[in-house]
Symmetry: C2
Subunit: 416 residues, 2 copies
């Protein structure tokens, strides 16, 4: 067995925060304290940006109680970034790494971050600098390749499912049509999680519109009318990433009509938040104008609540997020192993997971598909709903949902 | 002491649901079971609409465990309504009341519901029909007259404060400008509750825009620029009810430009949800276009989550909502006492409340002001923020907020 590389380590967090990204961070910190090959553990403030600015937290000197509190806190405790290092940026990173004898780089993030990790790793190799780079997965979108599911998704899915439990009760109490716009740029996993809210046969969401299925406004109006005629109400889950038949984002389409300029990040990703409110209003307005006998229509955009509502997370997700962080350090003990930590669902009658280390390029490949989308086996024939078999995949990741009570029987007044 | 009137009772729930409106309902049910003057307790399905349709739940025959589960469930378990009974509607109500010997009417709702209760009461008196009408307060807006605060507000305020704790951490992790649109048509209490999220000196919300203060878009842009220049980020709370200098709602103003028709309920209240998404996008777009060096701007509308997120409520609020329901039955023991149950904050070093029964017309007066607004003593001089003295009023109603942890000290790299 080769000798374990010894030196300092840097850990960073990147991309949109999640409810459990700090669980992974604390997993890395606590595990690093157990081994001598990591001398100091430096937490880069705002990801790669903190490296080039030489701004680090000293993570080996954090009291245990504070670590546990940080672990239970949403959003990235180190600060995050959407920077994508170019050649010059990477030269600066290596200057800093060399200067401080950094030999391990743990980067917690999505596929963009896996790509960043890969670029840094490549430059390290080009410079003949011995460095271990381990990517720790994190997204609420659940769109990462290879891993069975992604830490962060279960908690966001729990928030969405819980929100729909409440919203469905609200809609039952004061009947009408309710549209909720959900996060998930290209993958419908989070939008699909809304169906976990269904308890009674007539519970919403009654309709689910995914980024994987072209969105037709005429069909939408007809779908809602049919549900409303049947139940006298309708609860609808709509992904912020729905596209028209030509592939144009509806948020962009509505925004171009109404809003003007939209924002893209350094990766060319459209900042969908920009137009979702207008899209929500547009969909609501279309129903109000075109449906029969439907007066009450309301639309909300849950937005960042889905990823950062404090104290609200899935126990399973929190545990797994901690595990992938711990395993990143564990894998770092084996010399010359770079990669991304993936979750593997084990063949078992009850839900259980393991991990494996996979190549960075498997998670951030050069060719399409670069991310995962919701498999069509979970979409109904009319392509306006998610089928109940999705529960088998998603329910174990979400843990327990809030219990609710209701009255069932109408009184027989003659009997009183 | 006059003889207690004996007969059946009807209870109904009206208006927008809250997280604890079922606490009041269960308070009424459990207390009614203790006294013999209420023979049967009928739960009207969808408020007054359930009365004229003779659709009732038999509430004396509900098992205790189910009652407790219903109490902890958001949204109106009986179903709610926004119907405002006219003369003909009231005739039907009395037909039903007479037919079933209904002598007590408990109506849980806001000021619209107090008015409904008053109208029903007036018609009863005109018809020489002996009836006790007791209104039980409920709003998330906290805009009811007389009562120190309103059951439902504390839980909605807790949701808003919690959401801002998370959103502020999110904004700290990935810096930019974040706008959150909050409920509260004419009263800024719920928007003001966002300031309970502040823990560190530079925590958001950094700016708070209330319905009580005219909203000037130029001033808004300047305010945000100033905060951004100072902190490199900005978290903003905006009421859905902000109006321009001429008194026009911004949601309407933006919607008229972009959207077309808006919806009003039977009380003439604008359904603000209709235009809030567009307003959110408009505000975000204005900052993106007009501010210097600000790229990341995002806006969300929390919407119904504020009133119906399951399992999320203030302990104090839940307790008080139960209490006002219990007291409604208690007050009904005294013959010829109609009214609305109000909360009174007792003079005490620690927070404690009592109740009193006040006239229906005090809560639903014929002349303005018909509702309460946020007192100006809680608004800063620049009128773009809520001052810390608001905590004294609001914090006890919200109970505990989620605890969060963070790293403080940047490492001295020379020392490692």
């Amino acid at each position: 067995m080769p000798k374990t590389l010894s030196g300092n380590a840097v850990v960073g967090q990147a991309g949109g925060p999640t409810a459990v990204i700090n669980q992974s961070l604390v997993g890395i910190i606590q595990e690093a304290q157990k081994y001598s090959h990591i001398r100091n553990l430096l937490g880069a403030r705002h990801g790669v940006r903190g490296i080039i600015n030489e701004q680090f937290f000293d993570l080996k000197r954090q009291p245990e109680n504070m670590l546990e509190l940080v672990a239970a806190t949403p959003a990235a405790a180190l600060g995050a970034t959407r920077d994508r290092p170019d050649k010059a940026y990477c030269e600066r990173i290596f200057e800093v790494f060399r200067k401080h004898d950094v030999r391990y780089f743990f980067y917690i993030g999505g596929n963009d971050s896996a790509l960043t990790a890969h670029i840094v790793n490549t430059v390290a190799k080009d410079n003949n600098y011995e460095l271990r780079v381990i990517h720790v997965p994190k997204t609420i979108d659940n769109d990462l390749l290879v891993t069975d599911h992604c830490p962060g998704y279960g908690s966001a899915a729990k928030f969405v499912a819980s929100a729909f439990i409440g919203d469905n009760l609200d809609n039952r109490a004061l009947q009408g049509v309710k549209i909720n716009i959900l996060m998930g740029r290209d993958a419908g996993f989070l939008t699909a999680a809304s169906i976990l809210a269904r308890q009674r046969p007539d519970d919403g969401p009654h309709l689910v519109y995914l980024p994987e299925v072209p969105f037709d406004i005429d069909q939408f109006v007809a779908d809602v009318q049919a549900v409303y005629d049947r139940f006298g109400r309708c609860v609808i889950a709509v992904s912020e990433g729905i596209r028209d038949l030509e592939g144009t984002l509806w948020a962009e389409k509505v925004s171009v009509l109404r809003q003007g300029n939209l924002e893209r990040d350094a990766f060319g990703n459209l900042q969908l938040g920009a137009g979702t409110g207008s899209m929500a209003d547009y969909l609501a307005g279309s129903l109000r104008t075109r449906c029969k006998d439907i007066k009450r229509v309301r639309a909300d955009t849950f937005g960042y609540l889905q990823r950062s509502f404090p104290g609200y997370y899935s126990e399973v997700d929190a545990w797994e997020a901690r595990l992938v962080g711990q395993m990143a350090v564990n894998y770092s003990l084996d010399a010359d192993r770079d990669g991304s930590v993936a979750l593997v669902r084990l063949p078992s009658t009850t839900y259980s997971v393991g991990t494996k280390l996979v190549g960075l390029r498997e998670v951030a490949p050069e060719t399409e598909p670069k991310t995962k989308v919701l498999p069509m086996e979970y979409v109904n024939e009319a392509r306006n709903n998610v089928t109940d078999n999705f529960r088998e995949y998603a329910q174990p990741l979400v843990s327990d949902l809030p219990k609710t009570g209701w009255f069932e029987q109408i009184a027989n007044l003659e009997m009183l």
